[in-house]
């Protein structure tokens, strides 16, 4: 049996590798060198790489984003971390008016290689301002790349690709993924941003997914397989730019599309994918494309109000059943659930 590691540990390994292999890499953010090391993703990095290159910061999200941009223009490759995406709302001016546009508005004279990690909260009373999944916003802005890793085995190569990409990259880490396990591997090759990954093959339906939704989709897919329904499951990995070729090819085969999204429904990435498929693959569609997303309201704090908030594996199975007009059973998925709905697993006992 191979040794196991976690998603969070893989993030840390990617950061450590980047810092080790390129002296221009900088890592900073609230709590980066603290005892908890941003959920274990930055542990010991300051001790190893020094205070100049790895440091904590003031609660000044907007300026620190601009400082990252300036450092990038000065030849560095900064990686800025926000413990919640929600805090980064303070930095939209620097992100959108400067980072995203610098290369364009100066006619290609310079590029801005910054990576901005933002953690997506969920459950345990994160509530309205600690649980926003605003990938739609970033994907709407020309000049930003947006990465949403799902698999612990993918996150290292995706983060390395983001760090060494010449453009500003928003790297969205779902809090519920940090404890996911994978085999230890020493491969340090960056992925290609903009390439989705086919996680399972099938003719029945194409499911397009991202981030934590992909974990739910994987459960759904195996439950569906047992019932004879084979799924093309595409994990987006990069939600901007989107790997249209892979999605179009799959829909050409299946004629059926279900898109999963961790964000609010209205003006979602899921909607964009459906619209794009309507534009490109209309003639291949056998049924109407469908999306499952978070609803058009915020996640509340009370566990009583988050019970049905998020899309789960059984919802996916049910929706596939509707799409292919077949009675499917998902009781097994519901029975499998070992922990309460508002925690990623029994290991999580609060508070953050």
């Amino acid at each position: 049996m191979s040794e196991k590691t976690t998603f969070a540990q893989e993030v840390r390994d990617a950061l450590h590798h980047a810092l080790s292999s390129d002296p221009s890499v900088l890592v900073f953010g609230l709590g980066v060198p603290d005892p908890k090391g941003v959920f274990g993703t930055t542990t010991d990095l300051q001790t190893i790489h020094g205070e100049d290159r790895v440091f904590d910061m003031p609660t000044s999200e907007n300026a620190m984003t601009g400082i990252a941009i300036g450092a990038a223009l000065g030849g560095f490759k900064p990686i800025l971390t926000h413990q919640r995406l929600d805090f980064a709302l303070l930095s939209m001016d620097q992100l959108v008016n400067n980072a995203a546009k610098w290369h364009f508005m100066f006619g290609g004279k310079r590029n801005v290689p910054v990576t901005i990690r933002m953690i997506l909260g969920r459950g345990w009373g994160q509530g309205p301002t600690h649980s926003q999944n605003l990938q739609s916003w970033f994907a709407h802005i020309p000049g930003l790349k947006v990465v949403m890793p799902a698999l612990a085995s993918d996150v290292k190569s995706l983060l390395l690709a983001s760090i060494f990409d010449p453009n500003p990259v928003i790297f969205l880490e779902h809090r519920w993924l940090h404890n996911m396990q994978t085999d230890v591997s020493t491969v340090m090759a960056p992925a290609k941003l903009g390439e989705a990954k086919l996680l399972s093959r099938g003719d029945a339906v194409t499911i397009v997914s991202m981030s934590y939704m992909t974990i739910e989709a994987l459960h759904a897919v195996s439950c569906l397989k047992e019932q004879g329904v084979e799924i093309d499951l595409i994990d987006l990995r990069t939600v901007s730019p989107i790997d249209w070729t892979k999605i179009e090819k799959s829909v050409e085969k299946t004629g059926r599309l279900l898109v999963l999204d961790t964000g609010f429904k209205q003006v979602s990435i899921a909607g964009e994918i459906i619209t794009h498929i309507i534009e490109t693959s209309w003639q291949h569609l056998k049924s109407q494309p469908v999306r499952l997303t978070a609803p058009n309201y915020s996640e509340s704090t009370s566990p009583a109000l988050t019970q049905n908030y998020h899309v789960r594996a059984d919802d996916i199975v049910t929706k596939v059943g509707e799409i292919i007009d077949k009675e499917l059973n998902c009781q097994q998925l519901i029975d499998q659930r070992s922990s309460l709905h508002d925690v990623p697993g029994d290991w999580f006992t609060g508070p953050f």
Binding site: L30, G31, D34, P35, K36, F55, D56, M57, P58, T59, S60, N62, A63, D86, F87, L90, W124, G125, Q126, G127, P128, T129, H130, P295, N296, Y297, S300, T301, S302, P303, A304, L305, T306, Q307, N308, Y309, D342, T349, G350, P351, F352
Partner: protein, 327 residues
């Protein structure tokens, strides 16, 4: 200082302490399922400021707001129920520990984004000024708020319009695990830097409830008489971890000598010693008080755990208001 005031301050500090420590004790039951920031050790500031404020003064706060809410007169049952996610909570279970509100006593809301309510408080102050009723707006803030741009924008506007706004900074010297000097240039202390912007300021020991009381009293009077905004810094110390019920001194992010210095001088014992020594309070009175407080707090937890959860339908409610709600 008179007897009545001494009683009130002791009672208020003990009440806050008892609430916070009861939360800490019961958090592991896994029924308070939200991030929770306790104020144990920091009670003096809230207690003193709370005694000075009028019900018609308006207050806002941040993530660590239990003490502010209680000191301003917020309903205890509704707060505990809110932390338990019950429909009887002050925000019907939608906001949790970080989103407290009780407009009936002028507690206008606490929110979870560092610095997020600072301009809101200034906007409340603008309204109070237009209404001309000599009420003031109070903004409770931590030392990290002084790093946010919006704080300076808010200070500038408050000065520009000479608003009745009191900024109360509880400097517990840490933001999560990070000491002040890793986040701010500390050649000048916070209040000195704010004074440098042209704001009336005052500085004091946040463990000393009498000092907090006197300095705040003095400053609120200046504000009420049209003196414009003011900033108070009180140094203080948080006993437990930043977020959650435990002690985390084993992580060694704070010097042992620092911890000991602040703990040994803790606000309740310090004040009660003084009050007993000077004959303001009697040991027995304090004990009676404490018993009453514990009964009240236990009742609040009873209320909370016996309250129903909000109906599932409430999850999608309150996205849009149907009408203007009077405060």
């Amino acid at each position: 200082m008179n007897k009545l005031l001494a009683q009130k301050l002791s009672h208020s500090m003990r009440r806050i302490r008892t609430v916070e420590e009861t939360i800490a004790e019961r958090y592991s039951e896994q029924q308070m399922r939200c991030p929770t920031h306790l104020s144990t050790g920091q009670e003096a500031v809230s207690a003193a400021v709370g005694e000075i404020l009028r019900k018609t003064d308006l207050a806002v706060s941040g993530h660590r707001a239990h003490a502010h809410y209680l000191a301003k007169g917020g309903n205890l049952n509704a707060m505990i129920a809110e932390i338990y996610g019950r429909v009887t909570g002050c925000a019907r279970g939608k906001g949790g520990s970080m989103h407290l509100i009780d407009e009936s006593v002028g507690f206008m809301g606490s929110t979870a984004i560092v610095g997020g309510t600072v301009p809101v408080g200034v906007g409340l102050g603008y309204g109070l000024k237009l209404k001309g009723e000599q009420n003031i707006a109070v903004i409770f803030l931590g030392d990290a708020v002084v790093e946010t741009g919006v704080f300076y924008e808010s200070i500038n506007f408050a000065l520009l319009k000479n608003l009745p706004v009191l900024f109360v900074c509880e400097n517990n010297q840490f933001s999560v695990y990070t000491p002040l000097e890793q986040r701010q240039s500390t050649t000048l202390d916070i209040y000195e830097r704010v004074a440098g912007l042209g704001v009336m300021t005052e500085y004091g020991n946040g463990n000393d409830v009498v000092e907090v009381y006197n300095k705040t009293k003095n400053m609120t009077e200046k504000i009420r008489s049209g003196g414009g905004p003011a900033f108070l810094q009180f140094d203080t110390f948080r006993w437990r971890e930043h977020c959650g019920p435990n002690y985390d001194d084993d992580l060694n992010y704070r010097e042992t000598s620092f911890i000991e210095k602040w703990r040994s001088d803790e606000p309740i014992a310090r004040f009660e010693k003084y009050a007993i020594d000077t004959g303001l309070l009697k040991e027995t009175e304090i004990q009676t008080n404490q018993i009453e407080i514990e009964a009240e707090v236990n009742a609040a937890f009873e209320f909370a755990v016996n309250s129903p959860f909000p109906h599932a339908d409430e999850a999608s409610k309150h996205v849009f208001a149907e009408q203007h709600i009077k405060g």
